[in-house]
């Protein structure tokens, strides 16, 4: 999944660049600005993508990813400078000496895994329902719009909007995203997080939507997030290994469930019609 772009010309974008960068930048900015600024973080990233939409109409630049990162960085710095509130929460954001460096570090690829993990653990709050966990993960860590989530869950957009609103209000009360490596109360949420990832994979594997029960991108996201969780401490978590293995096993069969003549993999194949060659190799 997501491959097959090798043949594309140099000006072609990686298929899910916007989605991946959304996840990376939102997690980084929420970590940097604090969960109380969740809506602002989402706006800053969305605006950066819109800038790209505007600037790349004649074709993308040589390094689209770096372009997006720079744009988001400048937007964040401009916004922080105009708003003295951030100084109280993070002293390094209040000084011109340290501001640019702090933003750069937060948005660096090295900080990405930890930012996304911190956001995942913050989302899997016991005060929120399991379906809200999945909804928030789909929104913040998979980059789906409320309308896309509503289609996946087969409910109306207002229901998802309300669910997201309640969840955001809850997250915004947190003073910071804790580090799951050190905060024991966050690690206690691991079972909820594992359950949320399982539900996420399920949503991709046989989702509610009759038109598009298969969402390989969602399955890939569930596996990606499970692997992130594994990177946290690999030996100590056999359950996460089992979960990732289950995702891998079922993902291997995904291609045979998707009819090759459909460009958008929207319709499941019945067993007798499945293409079994990939399994027998």
């Amino acid at each position: 999944m997501g491959d097959g772009m090798e043949s594309a010309g140099p000006s072609e974008l990686v298929e899910d660049l916007f989605r991946r960068e959304w996840t990376h930048l939102v997690a980084a900015l929420v970590r940097l600005l604090g969960p109380a600024q969740l809506a602002l973080a989402e706006d800053l990233v969305h605006d950066s993508l819109l800038s790209a939409l505007q600037a790349w109409q004649l074709g993308p630049p040589d390094n689209p990813k770096a372009w997006l990162l720079q744009t988001a960085k400048h937007r964040a710095i401009d916004r922080i400078r105009r708003d003295r509130r951030f100084e109280a929460a993070r002293p390094e954001l209040g000084s011109e000496w340290t501001l640019a460096r702090a933003v750069e570090l937060a948005l660096s690829p090295e900080a990405d895994a930890e930012n996304q993990l911190a956001l995942m653990f913050a989302i899997c709050d016991e005060a929120l329902s399991p379906e809200t966990h999945v909804t928030l993960i789909l929104r913040l860590l998979c980059g789906l719009s409320a309308a896309e989530i509503a289609r996946a869950f087969l409910v109306d957009v207002q229901t998802i909007d309300r669910r997201l609103h309640r969840a955001r209000t809850r997250l915004e009360q947190l003073s910071e995203l804790g580090d799951p490596r050190s905060a024991a109360e966050l690690r206690a949420r691991q079972p909820s997080l594992e359950q949320a990832l399982y539900l996420l994979f399920n949503e991709g594997y046989h989702g509610a939507s009759a038109e598009a029960p298969l969402q390989p991108a969602t399955c890939a996201d569930a596996l990606r997030l499970a692997e992130l969780l594994l990177s946290l401490d690999a030996e100590a978590r056999p359950r996460v290994h089992a979960l990732a293995a289950l995702f891998c096993f079922n993902s291997a069969r995904l291609a045979t469930r998707v009819p090759p003549w459909r460009r958008r993999p929207s319709c499941a194949r019945l067993l007798p019609d499945r293409f079994r060659a990939p399994l027998l190799r």
Partner: protein
């Protein structure tokens, strides 16, 4: 052949938050397809996309009074221009039909560019 200017209004940034990152990227790739089509056909003579969010100043009157920003509804804001070559206004309008801006409720104004002698 005559030159025409496409003036784009509204589109992507007039619909905040409604589109997911993937949908934005798909929209962008349709823009690229459309402009590449015009380029390959030798019709596209250059474009000037404008910055988002719309930053600018407006000078007005004999006093050159300066105000910040273009003041317009976002659906009426000019988001960029493109110059194309076409045999007639009708053909130029026809070429604009496939522009992806209409998916997001934007508009394209097609104007004949005056040929300046020795220009």
């Amino acid at each position: 052949m005559a030159k025409f200017m496409y003036i784009f209004r509204g589109g992507g940034y007039a619909t905040p938050g409604a589109l997911s990152p993937s949908e934005l990227q798909q929209h962008l790739s349709r823009w690229n397809d459309w402009t590449n089509g015009l380029l390959k056909a030798g019709r596209h003579l250059g474009g000037q996309p404008l910055a988002h969010p719309p930053t600018g100043k407006t000078l007005r009157g004999r006093e050159r009074s300066v105000t910040d920003g273009p003041y317009a509804e976002s659906k009426d804001l000019v988001s960029g221009t493109v110059i194309v070559e076409a045999a007639s206004l009708e053909e130029a309008a026809q070429l604009a039909r496939d522009c992806p801006i209409f998916e997001l409720d934007g508009s394209v104004e097609v104007r004949l560019v005056l040929q300046v002698p020795n220009g």
